[in-house]
Symmetry: C2
Subunit: 499 residues, 2 copies
């Protein structure tokens, strides 16, 4: 993908000698420690820290707490009570530092469907590129090919930023460089299920978490592979819909035309909710949508052009919208992420399931999205229930749908012009030795509205992983060059940040 010359950068790129030295020192340390850094990422990715495995989540949390302790941090686990995975917290006061920065990431991964993976999602495998052969990296001698990728659930989302943070810290220590800010980390374990306990934990530990800035190590780089800073993220609201046919599957010959078909009802539900261009059909859905500002449009227009190259790489004929990738993600989205009905036999299924995924923008809330969706469906004649319907409900309903709203949170789009914002962009630019891509809002979701709401300080995204990492899908992977660059970026944000 070609690198564009126009980049939306909000401040100058004058690189003090100290910053150049810093990157050189960090790069040298990394070159000498590639096996150690990749080994740590592979170790972490082998821990099944997913919602379905509470023991795996706890094991990862314990491991992270140990890593912080070993580096001199005051490290602890912040809990919202039994059953919720802890937030791993760490703090390290730096003598004479005026500012305090929280580095946020999450150690939980998306659920897995192992049958769709090329190899076990929790037995990390190195491969040459996205679809190349396996590589015996443990038997290889560094330097590793930076185009190698480590495949495993959560390898990139979101364990890479954690590994980059630890490695950057080690590199600074080894180089005798002192961080320029007091360091805090917040590594949570429920991001992939919409962080249901995070707000409680943040509010219960407000003093402990006090800071001047939050840096969010989640999400991918811009598709141009340019180092990236983002100033917001879409919110979300998950929705699982169940459609009902006959109580038991029926032979499609004997009953086809008479028994209601839940798979066809699923199609009707989808087309009721979104048009062929992906526009949400719910009346009034856009009422809460904050307009994109001229500055935001300008920042987006200044991004390296990637759409056409991406479309070719992804091999599809036409994008859902013609406004361009990044601008299209400034709108709310309604994605269909899964369909399930029937089996190999020829039968009218008893049920069909549709997994939806609303992506929200300021100033929408999951609550209003739910209310608008349900009112609209009721108006179209759907009977909306929230629990498994009994026979009486089923018999009384011509079009019945069970909606399970699986949590969610609002979006955030924050000020790109604060002193902290300018300082972060400058430090990241210096660490990378070039301009960074500045996104007004990332398409994906991170619960960063909480940090902004509760702490009222700037919240800025500092992603490092490759965009083509199969995030949330099978064969998730982390590209080594991104990890290397990420370590330098993190080191810069620890040791070269001031405002």
């Amino acid at each position: 993908m070609r690198l564009a010359l126009t980049l939306a950068v909000l401040c100058g790129l004058a690189a003090p000698a100290a910053a150049a030295d810093l990157s050189t020192q960090v790069r040298a340390w990394r070159a000498a420690h590639e096996a150690q850094v990749v080994g740590q990422l592979a170790d972490f990715a082998a821990i099944p820290s997913v919602a379905a495995d509470p023991a795996g989540l706890q094991a990862q949390a314990d491991r992270l707490q140990d890593e912080l302790k070993r580096r001199g941090f005051d490290a602890r686990q912040l809990s919202a009570g039994a059953g919720a995975p802890p937030v791993v917290f760490g703090a390290l006061a730096i003598p004479r530092a005026r500012r305090t920065v929280v580095f946020y990431a999450h150690y939980d991964g998306q659920p897995v469907t192992p049958s769709q993976w090329r190899s076990d999602p929790f037995k990390p495998v190195m491969r040459q590129g996205l679809s190349g052969p396996d590589v015996d990296w443990r038997g290889a001698k560094p330097p590793y090919d930076p185009e190698w990728r480590l495949f495993g659930r959560a390898a990139s989302d979101d364990k890479s930023p954690i590994v980059a943070f630890l490695a950057a810290f080690d590199a600074l220590q080894a180089s005798g460089r002192r961080p320029s800010v007091n360091l805090k980390v917040v590594w949570e374990g429920e991001e992939e299920r919409n962080s249901p306990h995070l707000e409680t934990i943040l509010k219960q530990n407000q003093a402990l978490l006090a800071a001047d800035l939050w840096l969010i190590g989640d999400g991918p780089l811009h598709q141009s592979r340019t180092r990236t800073i983002y100033f917001g993220a879409r919110g979300n609201a998950g929705l699982e819909a169940t459609l009902y046919g006959p109580l038991r599957a029926l032979h499609s010959g004997h009953y086809g035309n008479w028994a209601p078909n839940p798979a066809a009802l699923a199609a009707q539900l989808i087309t009721d909710l979104r048009d062929p261009q992906g526009r949400i059909r719910i009346p009034g859905f856009a009422d809460d949508v904050r307009a994109v500002t001229a500055a935001e449009r300008q920042a987006i227009a200044g991004l390296p052009p990637v759409d056409e190259a991406l479309r070719r790489e992804l091999a599809f004929g036409r994008a859902e919208s013609d406004e361009g990738l990044t601008l299209s993600t400034m709108r709310p989205a309604l994605n269909v992420t899964a369909l399930r009905a029937g089996d190999a036999g020829r039968a009218i299924p008893a049920e069909a399931m549709v997994s939806f995924d609303f992506r929200l923008v300021p100033d929408e809330t999951p609550e209003r999205v739910q209310a608008k969706t349900e009112a609209y469906l009721a108006g179209l004649g759907w009977t909306v229930v929230h629990t498994d319907p009994d026979a009486a409900v089923r018999l009384a309903s011509a079009k019945l749908v069970k909606l399970d709203w699986t949590g969610g949170y609002p979006a955030l789009r924050s000020d790109m012009t604060t002193p902290a914002a300018r300082a972060v962009v400058a430090a990241a630019s210096r660490a990378g030795g070039g301009p960074v891509a500045v996104l007004p809002m990332m398409g994906g979701s991170v619960p960063i509205h909480l940090f902004a709401d509760i702490f009222q300080v700037p919240v800025i995204g500092l992603p490092i992983v490759n965009h083509d990492n199969n995030q949330h899908a099978a064969n998730e992977n982390a590209r080594l060059q991104n990890l290397w660059d990420g370590i330098e970026t993190y080191a810069g944000l620890m040791a070269d940040l001031s405002w």
Copy 2:
């Protein structure tokens, strides 16, 4: 389900003493051999004779050939060449018999999705009713509860008629009763995949298979549990559609609104093809549909009413059409039998799959259905392909669908007033000691048009299994009372049929 008093019976019910004796004798033999009969059904159901298991198909064919040989039949396997499961053929000439009747059934079962079954589809389990507890029938002393059901793939569809045929023959032998017609059997092994080699085999063995009548032991009884005769069956045409999104699954936040969503395209395809009442939207689709005659309407009107009781049992609020179950199956249907897209992660899937199932009526053909469907979709802007599209095709297509037509055959609706038809209804009525339900056409498909086309003799359906057998779905089952009744029906059709 209440038994209705009005039944569509085409001839008198006067039961000669001989017929009454016959049923009594057969019933007594059955009562003394329940363990043996059920044991044979369980043995057959344990053989994985499904398309995915050629060895299982061959094992079942060998077993059936042995069963026929042991009973004195000239038994052989008719093959269409390597790779196709054989037709098991048997013939037994009866001294002084004027007529020859072929008994058709199939020994292959539908594919299975074991995870959806309550127990292994090939380890038959007896249960109390449709959803009751397991029963240790091998440890129980007959007589068995006739409401017990044996669960296993193909237990009813279509191994029950084969077991009923063999048991009826044994009962006649034990009672010293001679069949009134020459017996032939044709038991095929590819019915569940649309009988791709049956026509070849029939044509290659036309002299061997000569007969005056074909009796089709496939399909369920009428939902009233009345003994049933049918005079036709819908045809079919299977269709697997694949919809394409990005070449690899993409994070639904980062790409939602831009990357095309194949699951939403699947919904669009379904709603392009059928309306919410299940009516097929393809223009001209009804041109080939033969009108239902007054006699056929009258036969349907005379069937025991079952719709309302069935709707309550199946717990849905409204049927797709308001014309009634049996009349609705006189029309072509377009069923959606499966949907598959995405997984547990939140991503825009790379592909979505829809399994469709056209059910045809006279005088439609699979070829014309395919042509009309594809022309209609092309007119709506779909790019229709039949092989996996390469990047060039994908890039050039805004709406791309791959259609795999998985075979099919036309329907048959035959004359209900021939002498053979009257004789069959009379013999079945006498065997059951009461009126039978007469269906002009069964909703399900059996390739009986072939028998009518090639041999130009009456083809009449003689089903025996319970309608609520989960045919083609998980937890297929055979109700014992149906098996008992079926043995009597088969004995009557062997020994008490004449015209």
